[in-house]
Protein backbone atom coordinates (compact mmCIF):
# COMPACT_ATOMS: atom_id res chain seq x y z
CA UNK A 1 0.00 0.00 0.00
CA UNK A 2 1.87 3.00 -1.20
CA UNK A 3 0.54 6.50 -1.26
CA UNK A 4 2.40 8.41 -3.89
CA UNK A 5 2.25 12.12 -3.55
CA UNK A 6 3.54 13.84 -6.63
CA UNK A 7 5.66 16.86 -5.79
CA UNK A 8 3.83 20.12 -6.05
CA UNK A 9 5.09 23.60 -5.65
CA UNK A 10 4.23 24.02 -2.03
CA UNK A 11 5.00 20.73 -0.41
CA UNK A 12 8.11 18.72 -0.11
CA UNK A 13 6.29 15.95 -1.91
CA UNK A 14 6.70 13.76 1.13
CA UNK A 15 5.60 10.32 0.20
CA UNK A 16 3.79 8.39 2.86
CA UNK A 17 6.00 5.60 4.07
CA UNK A 18 5.42 2.32 2.30
CA UNK A 19 4.24 0.13 5.13
CA UNK A 20 5.22 -3.08 3.42
CA UNK A 21 8.89 -2.18 3.61
CA UNK A 22 8.93 -1.51 7.30
CA UNK A 23 10.56 -3.64 9.90
CA UNK A 24 7.61 -4.12 12.20
CA UNK A 25 9.61 -4.05 15.38
CA UNK A 26 7.19 -1.71 17.09
CA UNK A 27 7.75 0.97 14.51
CA UNK A 28 11.33 1.40 15.60
CA UNK A 29 13.11 3.38 12.98
CA UNK A 30 16.48 4.12 14.50
CA UNK A 31 18.28 2.05 17.05
CA UNK A 32 21.70 2.70 18.45
CA UNK A 33 23.38 0.50 21.03
CA UNK A 34 26.51 1.14 22.99
CA UNK A 35 27.79 3.83 20.67
CA UNK A 36 31.28 4.87 21.43
CA UNK A 37 33.74 7.05 19.58
CA UNK A 38 37.37 7.57 20.47
CA UNK A 39 39.87 9.88 18.89
CA UNK A 40 43.09 8.35 20.07
CA UNK A 41 42.90 8.69 23.82
CA UNK A 42 40.04 11.21 23.81
CA UNK A 43 36.62 9.68 24.35
CA UNK A 44 34.09 11.78 22.47
CA UNK A 45 31.06 9.55 22.81
CA UNK A 46 30.97 7.21 25.76
CA UNK A 47 28.27 4.58 25.43
CA UNK A 48 25.05 6.03 24.05
CA UNK A 49 21.90 3.99 23.54
CA UNK A 50 19.03 5.40 21.59
CA UNK A 51 15.79 4.06 20.22
CA UNK A 52 13.62 6.23 18.05
CA UNK A 53 10.22 5.34 16.75
CA UNK A 54 8.51 6.65 13.71
CA UNK A 55 7.43 10.26 14.07
CA UNK A 56 9.56 11.04 17.09
CA UNK A 57 11.54 14.24 17.19
CA UNK A 58 14.52 14.32 19.50
CA UNK A 59 16.39 17.51 20.27
CA UNK A 60 19.80 17.12 21.86
CA UNK A 61 21.22 20.01 23.83
CA UNK A 62 24.66 20.15 25.32
CA UNK A 63 27.77 22.23 25.83
CA UNK A 64 30.49 22.37 23.21
CA UNK A 65 32.73 19.38 23.20
CA UNK A 66 30.04 17.07 24.52
CA UNK A 67 30.39 14.89 21.46
CA UNK A 68 27.07 15.76 19.85
CA UNK A 69 28.46 16.06 16.34
CA UNK A 70 30.28 12.76 16.68
CA UNK A 71 27.10 11.11 17.86
CA UNK A 72 25.16 12.46 14.94
CA UNK A 73 27.92 11.42 12.60
CA UNK A 74 27.68 7.87 13.81
CA UNK A 75 23.90 7.84 13.63
CA UNK A 76 24.16 8.98 10.04
CA UNK A 77 26.74 6.43 9.06
CA UNK A 78 29.28 9.06 8.14
CA UNK A 79 31.48 8.17 11.06
CA UNK A 80 32.45 4.69 12.07
CA UNK A 81 31.82 3.94 15.74
CA UNK A 82 34.70 2.71 17.82
CA UNK A 83 32.16 0.40 19.40
CA UNK A 84 28.44 -0.20 19.13
CA UNK A 85 25.97 -0.48 16.29
CA UNK A 86 23.37 1.64 14.58
CA UNK A 87 20.33 0.18 12.87
CA UNK A 88 17.88 1.91 10.61
CA UNK A 89 14.66 -0.04 10.21
CA UNK A 90 16.43 -3.09 11.47
CA UNK A 91 19.29 -2.86 9.04
CA UNK A 92 22.73 -2.31 10.48
CA UNK A 93 24.68 0.56 9.02
CA UNK A 94 27.46 -1.35 7.44
CA UNK A 95 30.52 0.13 5.94
CA UNK A 96 30.41 -2.06 2.89
CA UNK A 97 26.75 -2.02 1.98
CA UNK A 98 24.97 0.63 0.05
CA UNK A 99 21.28 0.29 0.61
CA UNK A 100 20.83 2.06 3.93
CA UNK A 101 22.12 5.43 2.82
CA UNK A 102 18.86 6.56 1.30
CA UNK A 103 17.04 6.14 4.55
CA UNK A 104 19.14 8.83 6.15
CA UNK A 105 19.40 12.52 5.41
CA UNK A 106 21.96 14.68 7.13
CA UNK A 107 22.11 18.43 7.44
CA UNK A 108 25.55 19.24 8.68
CA UNK A 109 26.99 22.63 9.41
CA UNK A 110 29.56 21.77 6.78
CA UNK A 111 27.11 22.22 3.98
CA UNK A 112 28.13 19.50 1.57
CA UNK A 113 27.72 21.98 -1.26
CA UNK A 114 29.97 22.77 -4.19
CA UNK A 115 30.65 26.48 -4.47
CA UNK A 116 31.07 26.63 -8.22
CA UNK A 117 28.11 24.50 -9.10
CA UNK A 118 24.74 26.14 -9.38
CA UNK A 119 21.96 25.54 -6.91
CA UNK A 120 20.24 23.28 -9.39
CA UNK A 121 23.41 21.41 -10.30
CA UNK A 122 24.14 20.65 -6.67
CA UNK A 123 20.74 19.04 -6.22
CA UNK A 124 20.91 17.13 -9.46
CA UNK A 125 24.35 15.87 -8.52
CA UNK A 126 23.22 14.45 -5.23
CA UNK A 127 20.00 13.24 -6.75
CA UNK A 128 21.96 11.16 -9.24
CA UNK A 129 24.18 9.77 -6.50
CA UNK A 130 21.06 8.67 -4.68
CA UNK A 131 19.72 7.02 -7.80
CA UNK A 132 16.68 9.25 -8.14
CA UNK A 133 15.08 9.20 -11.57
CA UNK A 134 12.55 11.99 -11.47
CA UNK A 135 14.94 14.86 -10.97
CA UNK A 136 13.36 16.98 -13.66
CA UNK A 137 10.25 17.29 -11.52
CA UNK A 138 11.73 16.80 -8.10
CA UNK A 139 14.49 19.40 -8.14
CA UNK A 140 12.34 22.40 -9.12
CA UNK A 141 9.69 21.36 -6.61
CA UNK A 142 12.16 21.14 -3.74
CA UNK A 143 13.80 24.40 -4.67
CA UNK A 144 10.43 26.08 -4.67
CA UNK A 145 9.69 24.65 -1.24
CA UNK A 146 12.75 26.27 0.28
CA UNK A 147 12.29 29.49 -1.63
CA UNK A 148 15.25 29.15 -3.95
CA UNK A 149 13.41 28.67 -7.23
CA UNK A 150 14.52 32.03 -8.66
CA UNK A 151 18.13 31.29 -7.82
CA UNK A 152 18.32 27.88 -9.41
CA UNK A 153 20.98 29.03 -11.82
CA UNK A 154 23.07 30.89 -9.29
CA UNK A 155 26.41 29.45 -8.29
CA UNK A 156 26.36 28.50 -4.64
CA UNK A 157 29.28 30.74 -3.80
CA UNK A 158 27.08 33.68 -4.67
CA UNK A 159 24.51 32.77 -2.04
CA UNK A 160 24.24 34.07 1.48
CA UNK A 161 24.70 31.73 4.38
CA UNK A 162 20.96 31.50 4.98
CA UNK A 163 20.30 30.56 1.39
CA UNK A 164 23.03 27.96 1.50
CA UNK A 165 21.48 26.42 4.56
CA UNK A 166 18.16 26.28 2.76
CA UNK A 167 19.82 24.52 -0.13
CA UNK A 168 21.56 22.13 2.27
CA UNK A 169 18.18 21.38 3.75
CA UNK A 170 16.71 20.63 0.34
CA UNK A 171 19.72 18.45 -0.36
CA UNK A 172 19.38 16.52 2.87
CA UNK A 173 15.72 15.80 2.19
CA UNK A 174 15.95 15.29 -1.54
CA UNK A 175 15.69 11.52 -1.32
CA UNK A 176 12.89 11.47 1.25
CA UNK A 177 14.84 9.81 4.04
CA UNK A 178 13.13 8.09 6.94
CA UNK A 179 15.59 9.53 9.40
CA UNK A 180 16.65 13.16 9.32
CA UNK A 181 19.68 14.31 11.28
CA UNK A 182 20.35 17.99 11.80
CA UNK A 183 23.56 19.36 13.25
CA UNK A 184 23.12 22.91 14.54
CA UNK A 185 20.83 23.91 11.69
CA UNK A 186 19.73 27.23 13.19
CA UNK A 187 23.24 28.58 13.67
CA UNK A 188 23.76 31.77 11.70
CA UNK A 189 20.38 31.73 10.00
CA UNK A 190 18.56 34.89 9.14
CA UNK A 191 14.89 35.00 10.20
CA UNK A 192 13.47 34.07 6.80
CA UNK A 193 15.74 31.06 6.45
CA UNK A 194 14.92 30.08 10.00
CA UNK A 195 11.25 30.34 9.11
CA UNK A 196 11.70 28.02 6.16
CA UNK A 197 13.55 25.56 8.34
CA UNK A 198 10.90 25.68 10.99
CA UNK A 199 8.08 25.02 8.57
CA UNK A 200 9.96 22.21 6.85
CA UNK A 201 10.68 20.56 10.18
CA UNK A 202 7.02 20.89 11.02
CA UNK A 203 6.15 19.06 7.83
CA UNK A 204 8.64 16.32 8.65
CA UNK A 205 7.02 15.81 11.97
CA UNK A 206 3.55 15.75 10.47
CA UNK A 207 4.78 13.34 7.83
CA UNK A 208 5.94 11.00 10.57
CA UNK A 209 9.60 11.22 9.71
CA UNK A 210 12.03 10.59 12.51
CA UNK A 211 14.22 13.52 13.40
CA UNK A 212 17.24 14.00 15.60
CA UNK A 213 18.36 17.58 15.96
CA UNK A 214 21.36 19.01 17.75
CA UNK A 215 21.01 22.69 18.51
CA UNK A 216 21.89 25.47 20.90
CA UNK A 217 18.68 27.26 20.05
CA UNK A 218 16.45 26.53 23.02
CA UNK A 219 13.30 28.01 21.60
CA UNK A 220 13.36 26.17 18.31
CA UNK A 221 14.63 23.00 19.88
CA UNK A 222 11.80 22.90 22.40
CA UNK A 223 9.13 23.92 19.92
CA UNK A 224 9.52 20.88 17.68
CA UNK A 225 10.64 18.13 19.96
CA UNK A 226 8.69 15.20 21.33
CA UNK A 227 11.77 14.07 23.21
CA UNK A 228 14.67 15.92 24.74
CA UNK A 229 18.15 15.01 25.83
CA UNK A 230 21.13 16.76 27.30
CA UNK A 231 24.50 15.39 26.29
CA UNK A 232 27.49 16.03 28.53
CA UNK A 233 30.93 14.50 28.09
CA UNK A 234 29.81 11.93 25.60
CA UNK A 235 26.77 10.66 27.45
CA UNK A 236 23.12 11.52 27.81
CA UNK A 237 23.21 13.09 31.22
CA UNK A 238 19.46 13.52 31.05
CA UNK A 239 16.74 12.48 28.67
CA UNK A 240 12.99 12.53 28.71
CA UNK A 241 9.88 13.44 26.80
CA UNK A 242 8.99 17.02 26.08
CA UNK A 243 6.52 17.96 28.75
CA UNK A 244 5.93 21.39 27.31
CA UNK A 245 8.30 23.12 29.71
CA UNK A 246 8.70 26.77 29.01
CA UNK A 247 12.00 28.05 27.76
CA UNK A 248 13.17 29.58 31.00
CA UNK A 249 12.25 26.56 33.05
CA UNK A 250 14.05 24.26 30.72
CA UNK A 251 17.05 26.52 30.64
CA UNK A 252 17.33 26.24 34.39
CA UNK A 253 16.97 22.50 34.17
CA UNK A 254 19.62 22.39 31.45
CA UNK A 255 22.12 24.26 33.57
CA UNK A 256 21.35 22.00 36.50
CA UNK A 257 22.13 18.98 34.40
CA UNK A 258 25.27 20.36 32.86
CA UNK A 259 26.64 21.44 36.18
CA UNK A 260 25.89 18.11 37.72
CA UNK A 261 23.16 19.09 40.10
CA UNK A 262 20.69 16.59 38.68
Amino acid sequence: MTDEVSPSADTLGLEKIDRDEIDHSNGVVLQAEGLRRDYGSVVAVDGVDLTMEEGEFLTIFGPNGAGKSSLLGMLGGGMRPTAGTVRVRGQALSFSEHDWQHRIGMLSHRGFLYGRLTVEENLRFYGTLFGLRDLDERVPARLARVGLAERARFEVRQLSHGMRQRLSLARALLHDPDVVLLDEPYTGLDPSAAGVLRSVLGELRDGRRTVVMVTHNLREGLAMATRLAVQVSGRFAWEGSNQGLGREEFERHYHDVVEGRV
Partner: protein, 226 residues
Protein backbone atom coordinates in the same frame (compact mmCIF):
# COMPACT_ATOMS: atom_id res chain seq x y z
CA UNK B 1 24.63 -1.52 -12.69
CA UNK B 2 23.33 1.48 -14.52
CA UNK B 3 23.03 3.26 -11.19
CA UNK B 4 26.70 2.56 -10.60
CA UNK B 5 27.65 3.93 -13.98
CA UNK B 6 25.51 7.01 -13.58
CA UNK B 7 27.05 7.60 -10.17
CA UNK B 8 30.55 7.34 -11.61
CA UNK B 9 29.61 9.51 -14.52
CA UNK B 10 28.04 12.26 -12.45
CA UNK B 11 31.12 12.50 -10.24
CA UNK B 12 33.38 12.70 -13.29
CA UNK B 13 31.06 15.34 -14.72
CA UNK B 14 31.11 17.29 -11.49
CA UNK B 15 34.92 17.26 -11.23
CA UNK B 16 35.38 18.32 -14.84
CA UNK B 17 32.76 21.06 -14.63
CA UNK B 18 34.33 22.41 -11.45
CA UNK B 19 37.71 22.33 -13.10
CA UNK B 20 36.45 24.14 -16.17
CA UNK B 21 34.84 26.83 -14.06
CA UNK B 22 37.75 27.41 -11.74
CA UNK B 23 40.54 26.37 -14.11
CA UNK B 24 42.60 26.09 -10.99
CA UNK B 25 44.48 22.95 -11.74
CA UNK B 26 44.63 22.95 -15.50
CA UNK B 27 46.10 26.44 -15.54
CA UNK B 28 48.85 25.46 -13.14
CA UNK B 29 49.58 22.24 -14.97
CA UNK B 30 49.48 23.82 -18.41
CA UNK B 31 51.73 26.69 -17.42
CA UNK B 32 54.12 24.27 -15.80
CA UNK B 33 54.25 22.18 -18.98
CA UNK B 34 55.16 25.08 -21.21
CA UNK B 35 57.61 26.66 -18.81
CA UNK B 36 59.27 23.33 -18.17
CA UNK B 37 59.78 22.95 -21.89
CA UNK B 38 61.44 26.32 -22.01
CA UNK B 39 63.66 25.80 -19.00
CA UNK B 40 64.69 22.32 -19.98
CA UNK B 41 65.68 23.64 -23.35
CA UNK B 42 68.11 26.01 -21.67
CA UNK B 43 69.34 23.31 -19.40
CA UNK B 44 70.66 21.21 -22.26
CA UNK B 45 74.08 21.92 -23.61
CA UNK B 46 73.48 21.29 -27.29
CA UNK B 47 77.18 21.00 -27.99
CA UNK B 48 77.36 17.80 -25.99
CA UNK B 49 73.83 16.48 -26.04
CA UNK B 50 71.28 16.00 -28.75
CA UNK B 51 67.90 17.21 -27.54
CA UNK B 52 66.24 14.20 -29.12
CA UNK B 53 68.19 11.89 -26.83
CA UNK B 54 66.90 13.38 -23.63
CA UNK B 55 63.52 14.67 -24.75
CA UNK B 56 61.66 11.54 -23.80
CA UNK B 57 62.92 11.54 -20.24
CA UNK B 58 62.20 15.21 -19.81
CA UNK B 59 58.70 14.80 -21.15
CA UNK B 60 57.92 12.14 -18.59
CA UNK B 61 59.47 14.05 -15.72
CA UNK B 62 57.51 17.12 -16.67
CA UNK B 63 54.36 15.05 -16.67
CA UNK B 64 55.12 13.63 -13.29
CA UNK B 65 55.89 16.92 -11.59
CA UNK B 66 53.12 18.73 -13.36
CA UNK B 67 50.77 15.86 -12.74
CA UNK B 68 51.56 15.95 -9.06
CA UNK B 69 50.47 19.58 -9.02
CA UNK B 70 47.07 18.65 -10.28
CA UNK B 71 46.50 15.32 -8.64
CA UNK B 72 47.65 16.56 -5.26
CA UNK B 73 44.72 18.89 -5.14
CA UNK B 74 42.11 16.29 -6.08
CA UNK B 75 40.54 16.35 -2.67
CA UNK B 76 41.49 19.84 -1.73
CA UNK B 77 38.35 21.49 -2.98
CA UNK B 78 36.15 18.98 -1.32
CA UNK B 79 38.04 19.12 1.93
CA UNK B 80 37.28 22.81 2.08
CA UNK B 81 33.53 22.52 1.73
CA UNK B 82 33.26 19.25 3.52
CA UNK B 83 31.67 18.08 0.30
CA UNK B 84 33.50 14.79 0.17
CA UNK B 85 31.61 13.72 3.27
CA UNK B 86 28.38 14.31 1.42
CA UNK B 87 29.48 12.07 -1.41
CA UNK B 88 30.74 9.42 0.96
CA UNK B 89 27.47 9.38 2.86
CA UNK B 90 25.57 8.80 -0.35
CA UNK B 91 24.83 5.33 -1.67
CA UNK B 92 27.66 5.67 -4.19
CA UNK B 93 30.13 2.86 -3.50
CA UNK B 94 33.60 4.02 -2.55
CA UNK B 95 35.20 2.28 -5.49
CA UNK B 96 32.87 4.18 -7.79
CA UNK B 97 34.05 7.43 -6.22
CA UNK B 98 37.65 6.40 -6.70
CA UNK B 99 37.20 5.36 -10.32
CA UNK B 100 35.37 8.59 -11.06
CA UNK B 101 38.02 10.78 -9.49
CA UNK B 102 40.75 8.83 -11.24
CA UNK B 103 38.96 9.17 -14.56
CA UNK B 104 38.54 12.91 -14.11
CA UNK B 105 42.19 13.28 -13.17
CA UNK B 106 43.12 11.16 -16.15
CA UNK B 107 41.28 13.45 -18.52
CA UNK B 108 43.04 16.42 -16.97
CA UNK B 109 46.47 14.87 -17.13
CA UNK B 110 46.05 13.39 -20.57
CA UNK B 111 45.12 16.76 -22.01
CA UNK B 112 48.19 18.23 -20.36
CA UNK B 113 50.39 15.38 -21.60
CA UNK B 114 49.36 16.02 -25.16
CA UNK B 115 50.21 19.64 -24.58
CA UNK B 116 53.59 18.64 -23.18
CA UNK B 117 54.22 16.40 -26.15
CA UNK B 118 53.38 19.23 -28.50
CA UNK B 119 55.47 21.78 -26.63
CA UNK B 120 58.51 19.55 -26.34
CA UNK B 121 58.10 18.39 -29.90
CA UNK B 122 58.23 21.97 -30.97
CA UNK B 123 61.00 23.18 -28.68
CA UNK B 124 63.20 20.17 -29.11
CA UNK B 125 62.63 19.68 -32.78
CA UNK B 126 61.31 16.16 -32.50
CA UNK B 127 60.16 14.27 -35.52
CA UNK B 128 57.33 12.19 -34.14
CA UNK B 129 56.16 11.01 -37.51
CA UNK B 130 55.11 7.40 -37.89
CA UNK B 131 55.05 6.42 -34.25
CA UNK B 132 52.98 9.33 -33.01
CA UNK B 133 49.95 7.16 -32.44
CA UNK B 134 51.89 4.73 -30.27
CA UNK B 135 53.54 7.52 -28.34
CA UNK B 136 50.13 8.90 -27.55
CA UNK B 137 49.00 5.46 -26.36
CA UNK B 138 52.07 5.00 -24.21
CA UNK B 139 51.58 8.40 -22.63
CA UNK B 140 48.00 7.44 -21.94
CA UNK B 141 48.93 4.22 -20.20
CA UNK B 142 51.54 5.96 -18.13
CA UNK B 143 49.13 8.72 -17.23
CA UNK B 144 46.55 6.18 -16.13
CA UNK B 145 48.86 4.37 -13.75
CA UNK B 146 50.15 7.64 -12.42
CA UNK B 147 46.73 9.07 -11.87
CA UNK B 148 45.46 5.95 -10.11
CA UNK B 149 48.31 5.93 -7.60
CA UNK B 150 48.22 9.68 -7.31
CA UNK B 151 44.51 9.80 -6.55
CA UNK B 152 44.75 7.09 -3.90
CA UNK B 153 47.67 8.73 -2.16
CA UNK B 154 46.26 12.21 -2.59
CA UNK B 155 43.40 11.02 -0.42
CA UNK B 156 45.96 9.73 2.06
CA UNK B 157 48.07 12.86 2.15
CA UNK B 158 45.08 15.18 2.33
CA UNK B 159 44.10 13.30 5.45
CA UNK B 160 47.40 13.95 7.17
CA UNK B 161 48.81 17.00 8.87
CA UNK B 162 51.43 17.38 6.19
CA UNK B 163 48.92 17.60 3.39
CA UNK B 164 50.00 17.53 -0.20
CA UNK B 165 53.70 17.79 0.58
CA UNK B 166 53.58 14.16 1.58
CA UNK B 167 52.33 13.05 -1.81
CA UNK B 168 55.63 12.99 -3.73
CA UNK B 169 57.34 11.11 -0.91
CA UNK B 170 54.74 8.38 -1.03
CA UNK B 171 54.28 8.18 -4.76
CA UNK B 172 57.72 8.64 -6.31
CA UNK B 173 59.22 5.29 -5.31
CA UNK B 174 56.14 3.57 -6.66
CA UNK B 175 56.41 5.31 -10.00
CA UNK B 176 59.81 3.90 -10.93
CA UNK B 177 58.43 1.15 -13.16
CA UNK B 178 56.27 3.66 -14.96
CA UNK B 179 59.20 5.97 -15.59
CA UNK B 180 61.48 3.19 -16.73
CA UNK B 181 59.04 1.56 -19.10
CA UNK B 182 57.48 4.81 -20.20
CA UNK B 183 60.70 6.59 -21.01
CA UNK B 184 62.31 3.52 -22.49
CA UNK B 185 59.41 2.98 -24.82
CA UNK B 186 58.97 6.62 -25.76
CA UNK B 187 62.65 7.12 -26.55
CA UNK B 188 62.62 4.24 -28.97
CA UNK B 189 59.40 5.27 -30.59
CA UNK B 190 60.62 8.82 -31.00
CA UNK B 191 63.75 7.53 -32.63
CA UNK B 192 61.72 5.66 -35.15
CA UNK B 193 62.09 2.13 -33.82
CA UNK B 194 59.29 -0.24 -34.77
CA UNK B 195 56.57 -0.93 -32.27
CA UNK B 196 57.43 -4.63 -31.99
CA UNK B 197 60.57 -3.74 -30.15
CA UNK B 198 58.73 -2.01 -27.38
CA UNK B 199 55.61 -4.09 -27.26
CA UNK B 200 56.71 -6.01 -24.17
CA UNK B 201 57.31 -2.83 -22.26
CA UNK B 202 54.02 -1.37 -23.33
CA UNK B 203 52.33 -4.44 -21.93
CA UNK B 204 54.14 -3.93 -18.64
CA UNK B 205 52.99 -0.34 -18.61
CA UNK B 206 49.47 -1.52 -19.18
CA UNK B 207 49.74 -4.13 -16.45
CA UNK B 208 51.06 -1.51 -14.09
CA UNK B 209 48.17 0.82 -14.86
CA UNK B 210 45.68 -1.99 -14.36
CA UNK B 211 47.22 -3.01 -11.03
CA UNK B 212 47.24 0.60 -9.86
CA UNK B 213 43.59 1.14 -10.72
CA UNK B 214 42.55 -2.15 -9.14
CA UNK B 215 44.53 -1.54 -5.97
CA UNK B 216 43.14 1.96 -5.70
CA UNK B 217 39.57 0.83 -6.22
CA UNK B 218 39.89 -1.73 -3.44
CA UNK B 219 41.88 0.33 -0.95
CA UNK B 220 40.24 3.73 -1.38
CA UNK B 221 37.40 2.89 0.98
CA UNK B 222 39.81 2.30 3.83
CA UNK B 223 41.46 5.63 3.23
CA UNK B 224 38.33 7.75 3.22
CA UNK B 225 36.53 5.97 5.98
CA UNK B 226 36.16 8.12 9.04
Amino acid sequence: MSTYLSQVWVIVWKDLVLEMRSRERIAAMGAFAVLAGVLFNFSIDTTTTRPQDVASGLIWMTLIFGGLLGVGRTFHLEAQDGALQGVLMSPAPKDAVFLAKTAANFVLLYVVSLLVLGVFGLFFGLDLGPNLGWVVVVLGLGALGFVALGTLFAAVSTGTNMGETLLPVLVFPLLVPMVIYGVGTTTRLINGRPFDEVEGNVRMLGAFALAAVAAGAVLFRYVVED
